[in-house]
Symmetry: C2
Amino acid sequence: MAEAAGVSRQTVSNVLNAPAVVRPDTRGRVEKAIADLGYRPHASARRLRTRKSSTIGVRLDPVQNGISGAVLDRFLHAVTEQADRRGYRILLYTAASPADEIAQFGRLLDGADVDGFVLTSTSFDDPRTEWLIAAGAEFVTFGRPWGLDDVDDPRHRWVDVDGRHGIASATRSLLDDGARRIAFVGWPAESGAGNDRRRGWREAMAAGSGLSPKALDALDLHLEDSVSVAAAAVHGLLEGGGLDAVVCASDTLALGASTVVGPGVRVVGYDDTPVAAALGFSSVQQPLEEVASAALQLLLDGESGGEAGGAAGGAADRHRLLRPRTVWR
Amino acid sequence: MAEAAGVSRQTVSNVLNAPAVVRPDTRGRVEKAIADLGYRPHASARRLRTRKSSTIGVRLDPVQNGISGAVLDRFLHAVTEQADRRGYRILLYTAASPADEIAQFGRLLDGADVDGFVLTSTSFDDPRTEWLIAAGAEFVTFGRPWGLDDVDDPRHRWVDVDGRHGIASATRSLLDDGARRIAFVGWPAESGAGNDRRRGWREAMAAGSGLSPKALDALDLHLEDSVSVAAAAVHGLLEGGGLDAVVCASDTLALGASTVVGPGVRVVGYDDTPVAAALGFSSVQQPLEEVASAALQLLLDGESGGEAGGAAGGAADRHRLLRPRTVWR
């Protein structure tokens, strides 16, 4: 190879591993020789040399039974495609529990199988992110830390979607169209994401519905994520005092609501699943392509790569809260 | 390491790479030394030594808009979990076309990134499998080759689900319950899997419905996989001569049918998606865990690993056609 290009072995190595340090004309000659000889560095040899795997670890989440479960699969698609364009591959692993996932982190890092991780499904006091921070590992999460004290932690890079803004915006649109009695069908209070979406509805309703706090409480449902449970609860509200519209924390709940409301009552779900499109109800759509792009940028480009303004090392370089949009039908 | 265990370096290497050749007591001593020293072989060094990556390449299929698209994601989950138990990892790649996927095969094999492939979504005269056979690469497909001359090709290992049997069995159950006018809502004739499912309905109806071939033709719909198209077409049949039941090639079509039939008309879909469970229609369920298990067995255990009987090298060692079951609701 070096002979064919008339350069030293070190120069060939530089072209492969640090092309910026090689003069363009020399680089062109070496690249032509590489192409002519059909040379490809063996992946494992390259990894040993560079100590980089060009591989990102992603957990494949357990299959969800709800119809919104596919959202994380769609995120995985976006991450895989965008990583591919950057020359990175995705290595999948599974884990039955946070402790099991931490054991996987250890194995993957010890074996130099991955350069870093993209995590999903963050929770209050997530032991996984604590472990990764302590281990000095590279990671980014889709989902903000839900604790009060860690959302601004500079060691935890995250991307999330502003569900509160999305639900508030959808609720305001319904109010603008004349709806007043707008119910919120959400999850129990343990869910960080669920509470955030509920807050969006509550704020928009408090500002624009003219209803009393007590009337709003009566329109605020805390349910498990089930079609039949949502259908029964919304049916109860229709019998009680009637409804103008229903805003839901998920398309599963919206599907339940859509089976009992009349044609004049609009239903808005969350996640814009194929079911929402098929049955024709509106839904708040997460910008998953943008989430994937921001996650890879935070993980791979580090603090210097942020095009978001502000001083070097600002929060915008480490955290991104993206806005969803409602698909009206 | 060798010193700590009081054995030769070759023995340590054997314990790591070919434990069966080491005496159990010696193996125990080396394994204890490995544990005491916290030793882990570097993945890349291991790969160079063994020429094996312990990694399987799987294409992440483009996101499907239909509600059955999640089936391939569920298959990916099953493959990832079962591969993990065997010490194999899944490397994801994406491809925009068969030609693009073939280029990915080349890159992954040249770099020794994967030991083999699990392919999905096979088609008539699939250029991908032809390329892999010519390259001498290890692969297995979920989906049989749909050509007339290649289904028994010993160089093409495959696992598939017998959709014809699944649809025939569901249709016979409906006939046993007294239904006679049972429509089939399927795809256009270009689909190998779709034609196979249609054949199951046709055979069961010819044997048990008492309807003429002409009457069966009128109950046999060829539609695109769309909720609204299916709803309109089934509505037409209801207006025409009435229906006792509807059997569909997908849950998307079944969802459309379920929105227009009355409570006395049973609807059976295919793939048992969360939507079928949520809306309460029956559906034929593919045994995806079994498919994943059989695929890994054919790929990793080779011809010697088949527990299916028959002479060595028999078709059962290379092809598995599994039976689905109907989930009745």
